[in-house]
Symmetry: D2
Subunit: 290 residues, 4 copies
């Protein structure tokens, strides 16, 4: 890692509420009154929906309120504005689980970034419905658990997966090309905490074999989309997308090859945004404070 | 125009046929035997479909066969390979008609490029279903014809439009945001000779109001698509596409503003490819020899 | 224009000052205390330089301070934070002058956007060092002034240009491929108020004939850059850049053709950002609140 | 790997020579006469330099000339056209060496792709001037050799490196952020066979710390460039480039983070093109038949 730089201990407040006069004034006054040095303030008003969304990050050093009392101190203010909010600390290390099937390019990429220290996380385990990726995962010193899934055992297997996830205090799940549809019940345990990479430019080509469909349609650009998983297949809030040009020279194999690079990057960017608490979700859309 | 350069008089052969050994050898031998200097040769074999597609351009200067006999000279060869083909000459000036409705950004762009000499064409007329663009078109010294279209008169109006087009020997039609669906009968008169610009990244968001749909879906990238018009609405062979990033900061109005720039460029590029005879169509897809 | 929407009368404050605690709190409190409804608040802290930069836009409707007294009301606050600031009103219509030489693609594009109502401006005149574009400019109903420039008369001609600009109350100048270097004295009259489009991806290929240099170097991507003009040739603060892929198939003529489209868009975007007061300049760089 | 597909055994001829009539006819006739089924034919004529460049790939199955006699059979034809040429076979597995310093993101990416089978190569060793990456390389089961380099020992160390490379029959070298300048003598052993990734959009920001320079200049787009190494630092023939947008929100650390993704992809694409024999070099530029 080139130039990682010193990392400040900071607090991050994510807030969304009905738009109204004085919100920013109240929040910034609260921080100012408590000697909080704002590192970054982002806010967005969606005029059509009349929603105020904001992310405020401030230095914990010198802040007048002890870390463990900040949430309580904020609650009155948050209630006054009828807001939903989350409070995070930059030095918290989330426990992350990876789900993978047979294709391993995104898995390799995620594990390499993890080992390089690109993200401040811990990955205690990888879950798969196939044994194929075992040796890769082991090479990175991570536990690998196989849950084979068929028409009859899905509910039972998901229950066991959840037990395992809870046992490891998993905060966040990344699907690196996991080819099973998670049940709404499973997803409900991790709302906006499961990121998937879909290998098309959504909403074009949802579902299976998007590269084949793109090839058949004769598009000149292909894409990849990272999104939070909801019970609507490939319909969750989009976090990031990117594209690459293709031409008649490119076969489906070329589409897949070029697409792999997109998938890796678009997934990694979504993970980074999520870990930095830069993503807010509202009405099945995201605000990403890049 | 910077550096337009001397333009050679050249012949362009577009050919598509079942793939088979010896095609390129036969074509290049034919040209070599007749002292034809190849300016550019492009060819593509679609392995899945076993189709051979090629574009050959050669200098007419010094070519042994007189221009008016080239087609006849080629026919035996073309029949041998069971090929569909077109022969064009680079100094031919096509007659182009523009169709427009109320939005004029693409119209302005096309007429400006025309007046700047970017394309070697003649635009004798613009057709519209609204009177709005009359003064713009007149400003560029071009005739403007209004054919109002309602539920009852479409067939009759299209018949009159076709008469007008035939009277002006129109070879090629450009729809610069023309908000009427052309009938299959009309389209049949200009197969792969009508270019439309659609304001989305097809196949996402076909039909009306794609920017609104894109906004509602929360995409992070919007696009535009130029394609040949077929009887399948927004389903014709794609010639070019391009995209631009958007974020939560952007309203629908911003989408529309950013999209306009895409539309202008993606349409202009398709026109250029078409005029250079760089586009071959097969199985509702295009080969574009950029 | 699709969906222009109702435009609010708003005030826009641009501010830059040394970063310090309480700035945002103070500004937002000022607005809140005076019943100001914030439409959009953007702020950025450059940590390396310890500079705070912000753009606040609020609705004039219902604001307690009359428009003509806002500047005075703000001055105490602005002085307290030792800030440089500008106050703008969204309904002000700036007077814009265009400078052009022989190439007219950007000129056409700017005038077309103007006539379509894309920008809320008035263009009373176009200035050139050549007579070539006269008929185009006249077609758009705008006055065209020629100031031929040679080695001896530059100072004198610039003096006359400035007189003309002052006589028309010009607020802002756009160089649509103007091939003369403006003197530092001239530029000093319009600091960060002259936008140029340079036909390369700066800092690569400054100066003359960048497409030729790009071709000779064998780059795979070409670009265009819009920037404020300073006395450092092609060295002013960059507002926007964009790129397009090229390949060995493309000649210098193709580079120029593809580049023209970039130039038009990158210039138009810079004009839009400037007119929306979304650009702040510091240390020869820009903050653009897109 | 999704859908790798059956791989044909094919021969690939790369040819460059002065442009002249009849070249393509002669080559394709040679193949046709020997029952060669062309899989793909690409050719390009650089008009300015009057150079003909081509890549022909044909199926070895059914070809009348045995593999080991093809070179001899071609030589007469190649001499007739005064051409430089290379003959390759698609089933040949090149021996590839990696050079790395301390930054390992490109190394991880290259080794992951290698282990996934994305390229048909063998990587017997990684060379470094630092011990840091040892454990990574070992994890992938590859030998790691450290050659520390200082002001006095460079010539001697390069001599030893060359010995090692020759001992392993290395055909091709990839520099995954190797922070030493190779001597012209070293490079002469691998002309157009050493690929480097430079972390800027060349020719902007050659040399050290390009992300810092880009940040200081205030660019809105950063890039990466893969190129063949010549004795001209960062001046060799460019194979591929790509870019990503940045804004004032992004610190140098963000530039570096975003740039890493570019570097990985732009390097991997160059390796792929090289391995497919899709790159021809002439006059310090490349033709890449994508």
């Amino acid at each position: 890692m080139e130039n990682p730089g010193p990392q400040k201990q900071s607090a991050i407040l994510l807030i969304s509420c009905p738009d109204q006069k004085g919100i920013v004034a109240a929040i910034t006054k609260f921080l100012y009154d408590n000697a909080g040095n704002i590192i970054r303030l982002d806010q967005h008003v969606n005029m059509q929906e009349n929603i105020f969304l904001s992310r405020v990050e401030w230095d914990l050093q010198g802040f007048a309120i002890p870390r463990e009392q900040i949430a309580a101190s904020l609650s009155e203010l948050m209630q006054k504005f009828n807001s939903k909010y989350e409070l995070h600390f930059s030095d918290f290390v989330p426990q992350v689980a990876i789900f993978v099937s047979k294709l391993t390019h995104c898995l390799y990429d995620v594990l390499s970034r993890y080992r390089e220290g690109e993200w401040n996380i811990s990955i205690p385990l990888v879950i798969s419905n196939h044994p194929d990726a075992d040796s890769i995962v082991k090479k990175f010193g991570i536990n690998y658990f196989v849950f084979e899934i068929n028409d009859d055992n899905k509910q039972e297997q998901e229950r066991k997966q959840l037990e395992l996830l809870k046992a490891h205090d998993i905060n966040f799940i990344v699907l690196t090309r996991y080819m099973q549809i998670l049940s709404p019940e499973f997803i409900a345990h991790y709302p906006n905490k499961i990121i998937n990479i879909h290998h098309s430019f959504l909403p074009a080509f949802p579902g299976a074999k998007p590269y084949h469909s793109a090839y058949d349609r004769g598009v000149k650009i292909i894409g990849a989309t990272s999104h939070y998983v909801t019970s609507d297949l490939d319909g969750g809030p989009i976090i990031d997308q990117d594209i690459v040009r293709v031409s008649h020279q490119h076969s489906i194999t070329d589409f897949i090859r070029k697409g792999r690079d997109l998938e890796k990057i678009v997934l990694a960017r979504a993970i980074w945004y999520h870990l930095q608490h830069k993503v807010l979700v509202y009405k099945n859309k995201t605000v990403v404070f890049d």
